[in-house]
Amino acid sequence: MGRYLMQRLGAAVTTMAAASVIIFFFIHLIPGDPLYVLLGDGSTPEQAEALRAKMGLDRPIYVQYVTWLTNVLAGDFGQSIFFQAPVLEVIADGAETSILLASITAVWVILLGVPIGMVSAVRHGSWLDQGLSGTAMLLASIPTFWVGLYLILVFAAWLGWLPSSGYPSIFEDGGLANLRHLLLPSIALAAPNAALILRLTRASMLDVAREDFVRTARAKGLPGWRIVVHHIFRNAVLTVISAFGFTFAALISEAVVTETVFALPGIGRLVVQSILRRDFPVIQGVILITVALYLVINLLVDLTYRWLDARVELE
């Protein structure tokens, strides 16, 4: 286990190093100038150049990279060009929204995806199964922003039940009641991902059901539900856990669009806005942290997997 862990950590560090190079150099290939965005339409070229020199943005790119990397390793992600504030502070401000949105979405995904997937598998081949699988397939084919817009139309504009957008922190006026701001976005975001988990649960349960030890249990005359719970479900959980790694990546991707539709002050929208503003330090910071999170989560998923099922061979 220890050796395996070291191996995986080593791989993660290499990936991070490679990612940091890609992030930094590719981001600086983006055309457009952050200083003009900062200074506005009426600014003069001389003004921009003076500012560029002052901010150290006129130094050779590799020098900027080394400076950046050294600082990042010391925990300093630099200053946002646009906000004139530390990048970490800017990101931390968006983290609450994004983390809560992802968590609520994950709850929906598990609550809906796993049980319905099980029902579908138990009744597999029936009309119910076909209906549920078909619906799941349909949900997985809907753009989240499209659902989001119509959710806003119906539940916010027409019925007035839920807020259309924005998210005040739960530490501000309203407290936990502010979470209702995240209800519609999390539903929009959960739809395709729940569908994915549903299909995975169903598929893996069916695969397990064909395996020998289940057949043996059945032959021994154990009741159907006991087989489902004890043998099949336990094994299906493994699949679902392993699916979480890439569901997380999908969540981040789709959150970019969802946060834009619902005007949420999260990290997804921050990164899109920062790309449009050419706020390079913020883009670099967000992507670097996301990549790191992705690697950590995938590592955790693998370790959990291994812990839950010693039979699983790990490379």
């Binding site: 990936t15 990612a19 349909l138 084919s141 119509y150 392993s242 990546a249 999908a250 981040i252 991707s253």
Partner: protein, 287 residues
């Protein structure tokens, strides 16, 4: 020939809903090819007096804020959907398959290439595509590349996995021990056996490419905004969601229908697939 056609269609004849998917895809291809003949209006024709019209006898799907006919734009949009789908699939296959096969055949290459794939996969897909499009500039071709890169990674992984399994099969080992060259082995034994799993992957990639392209369009960074793509139509009309909700309905429905149909097709194909490859496919999906 008919026998061959029958084997191809078999998965669809057995499952009605998959047949439905296949028909929708067929209709879409037809609409894309003959768009100028079917569409009642020029999709770019502006009419300042017929702005934001609801569905009427003249304009079945209504008009947008330029007074352009939504039905005609939806029909023309299927062209772009087809171009994006075919483009992304081709890009993913043409880059991913060689990378995956080479990695499987030459472990040293694999150590580098598959590591590179791992790095790319660590980036959230949409952010990767967004970044690429901002760097490359906004055009249909660049949108294809940006989305294609995302599916390059999954395709390479699948090709790698399938190829490794094939390499271990008795007949491939036998051929290699008889001194058949690597290129020969790949061309004669490996690639033909990869066609089915890749076909499945291709239909899923086609489906997800639609959603990816729509997201990029929606953020204003996909196909150039003057192109009548479904995603652009949604992006342009979103501020009219309360005033003219029907404007967003039709292009959205087309995206869903296309992605849904291709998912159905892919699903039907996958169920017919050798279970050995199914595991490889399942582990490599990403959207």
């Amino acid at each position: 020939m008919t026998a061959r056609l029958k084997t191809l269609l078999e998965p669809f004849l057995a499952r009605r809903i998959a047949l439905f998917g296949l028909i929708v895809v067929g209709v879409m291809i037809f609409a894309a090819i003959f768009a100028p003949l079917i569409a009642p209006y020029d999709p770019l024709a502006i009419d300042s007096l017929a702005r934001l019209s609801p569905p009427t006898a003249e304009h079945w799907f209504g008009t947008d804020h330029f007074g352009r006919d939504t039905l005609s734009r939806v029909i023309h949009g299927s062209r772009l959907a087809l171009i994006i789908g075919v483009g992304v699939v081709s890009f993913a296959l043409l880059t991913g398959v060689p990378a995956g096969v080479a990695s499987a055949m030459f472990p040293r290459v694999g150590a580098v290439v598959m590591r590179g794939v791992d790095v790319l996969m660590a980036f959230p897909a949409l952010l990767l595509a967004l970044g690429l499009i901002v760097i490359l500039g906004q055009s249909v071709a660049n949108a294809i590349v940006a989305i294609g890169v995302v599916y390059l990674t999954t395709t390479a992984r699948i090709a790698y996995g399938v190829c490794l399994r094939l390499k271990a099969e008795a007949y491939v080992m036998a051929a290699r021990s008889l001194g058949v060259g690597t290129l020969q082995t790949v061309l004669r034994h490996i690639l033909p056996n990869m066609i089915s799993p890749l076909l499945v992957q291709a239909s899923f990639v086609f489906a997800f490419a639609q959603l990816g392209a729509a997201s990029l369009d929606f953020l204003g960074l996909g196909a150039p905004p003057e192109t009548p793509s479904w995603g652009n139509m949604l992006a342009e009309s979103r501020i009219y969601i309360t005033r003219a909700p029907w404007l967003l309905f039709f292009p959205g429905a087309m995206i869903i229908l296309t992605a849904f149909s291709l998912n159905l097709v892919g699903d039907a194909l996958r169920d017919r697939l050798d279970p050995r490859y199914r595991a490889v496919l399942g582990a490599s999906r990403k959207n």
